[in-house]
Amino acid sequence: MPDPTYIAQLVLSGLLLGGLYALLAVGLTLIYGVMHFINLAHGDFMIVGAFVTYVLWNALGLHPLLILPIVMVIGFIFVIPIHKTIFEPILDDSVINQLLLTFGLAIMLEALLSFLFGLNSRGVQVEGFASSTIEIGGVFLPMMRILVFVFALVILTALYLFLHYTHIGMGIRATAQDPTAAQVVGVDIDRIQLLVMGIGSALAFGSGALLATILSFEPFSGLTYILIAFAVVSVGGLGSMAGALVAGLVLAIFQTVSTIWVPSSIGNAILFLVFLIMLLVRPEGLFGSIEHGRGLYD
């Protein structure tokens, strides 16, 4: 039986990482929930966000957490021309077309990042309080990971409140439920779609900003994260925000705790094994997918 402290270390490390997974996946699921659009470049949006954070941190010398809102605004603006020129024309196309086009976009972003920044791993160093570590009964928790988890939860809570308690949020949820009916009652669908794409991109950029403070990244890291985001969204239930949160936490804990028995080199494989089992056993996900009458508007 493994040492309880060791298990607690892995569970808590996984939990803290799970906040980041959830934040990334919620952006993906929000876009899918409202538009039924799958953006394979979502992981690369996250990495672009990490690089933007890296550049601003170098240029401004500000604490990366203070840069976070700026990065999210940049993320929102970043996707507008992409949505107008690339995404919008294929919103009603087949899923294959969406996948191919967004995959092409992902490759383009990776090439651009490697051209601009080279292939070296990057990271943003935090100092002072944020670089400290808390020890609880032999379990060491880096303060920055705790802060990343807290910030992820704060952003997700703000998003939940926005979707449920604002006029625009209700418009988004109405569009997710029934776009035609929403249009009939006066919701500007095109505007809502642009807004949702912007929010999704801002969430990806935000998760990139948080990622940059605790883990290293490089231009080609996006693929790993889009796969993780897909696993989280599928396990949680396509289009379900609550599902993405729970699945993000559960999968990250699963990923870290599994290394008690298997080498870390196959930790990701374990995560995708859970994903495959879930697809076979409960294809609608933990919280049911939007096709099954549940999801974003829960």
Partner: protein, 434 residues
Amino acid sequence: MTVNDRQDSEEENANCQSKDLSRRRFAKIASVTGVTGIAGCLGSSSQGDDSDTILVGGTLGLTGHHSGTTPIYQAGYRTVVKWINDAGGIEVNGEKKEIKLKIYDDENNKQRVKNLYNRLVEKDNADFLLGPYSSSINYTAAGTIEKLGVPAITAGAASPAVFNEVANKWLYSVLSTVDKYNLGIIDTMAQVSPSPNLVGGIRENNQVNQISAQATKEYAKKKGVTFKIIDTYDVETNDLTSSIAKAKSQGTDFLMNLGHLPNDALMVNQAYDLSDNWKGFAVGTAIGTSEFPEQVGTDKARGIIGPQLWSPKINVSNIDKFRSDFKREYKEIAGEKMEPDYHAGLAGVSIQVIRDTIQTASSLDPDALRKTLTSKTYSQTLNGEFSFGDNNVYTPQRSYGVQLQGEDELGLELVAPKEVASAKPIWPMTQFEG
């Protein structure tokens, strides 16, 4: 495009594409070494016994994945070529001939490396060859070199497979194979007091580090050091939390990474976050790079141990002069801040081997040179005395333990084996002294 133009262009490419590793360092070395590269391309492309120069040619991935390391080799070659030429050159049949160095950029590309070695021998008439950098590129180059039948020295092939499977006649190595790579770290652990309870290794999941881990385990057993591979991780990982937590849970107090720079730095940074109960850390190839202390910070890097296959601080009297001259002249070529690491030192050894082989054979005939390579004991080298064993790799193979020591500016001190050490290991690392 002329050879000169091509060399210019390759140097330019090298400068442009190396920014992912160490742009400034690369630019500094490449700009100076480029002069010789260009100079090496001047004059007749025809060589042979009747020429007044000896053409030594090779390839390096001056652009591409290894562009941060290859200029170090080039500067190492240049340093010793300059020594030899300043001393009048190499004596062949009673006549002194200078060395002309020609290095092509293979772009770390296997097809290109084949073409370039063919060109070096068939068009440029190279008298002696230098191997490329990295085991996989050497593996490819070895196949071509064996067919061409011109002697070659490599300082960039660590995989035993190159010599066990391909190179058996014409390619010789002055670099220890990867199974010797971490022995210097174990030597260090065998001499420190108090001994570590458990040297816990985490390693990249690839064949090279698998071979290295197995050899390290066997050597540790022989030396009475408790060593265990705790975990393997994906080379492309960006999180070693689970591996480190596993190592900690099994009682590791000396944590060792068998891998490369990004993961070496990652392990150190995350290990500091997950425990304050370590005695120390060892890293892999990162130890000799200037990027490593930059990535983890001077305070965290101080006291970290690592392996080196050559060191300018080897405390052996008969190489004292070589060592000090090499260090001084290497800095003139590569830049004042550049300390020659094992890549540079062994590049220099390659040229010394070529010099001694030609002088002993007193001929540029490939068969005569090969015969000398297989029989001669080389003593006047930066790496002391050695000869080439049955597998064409130098013997006895060496590995050293080094440690980053110093206050504001860290330098590599050679700490093991004791007989050749330049300093005592600082142990435990001062950061963990309670």
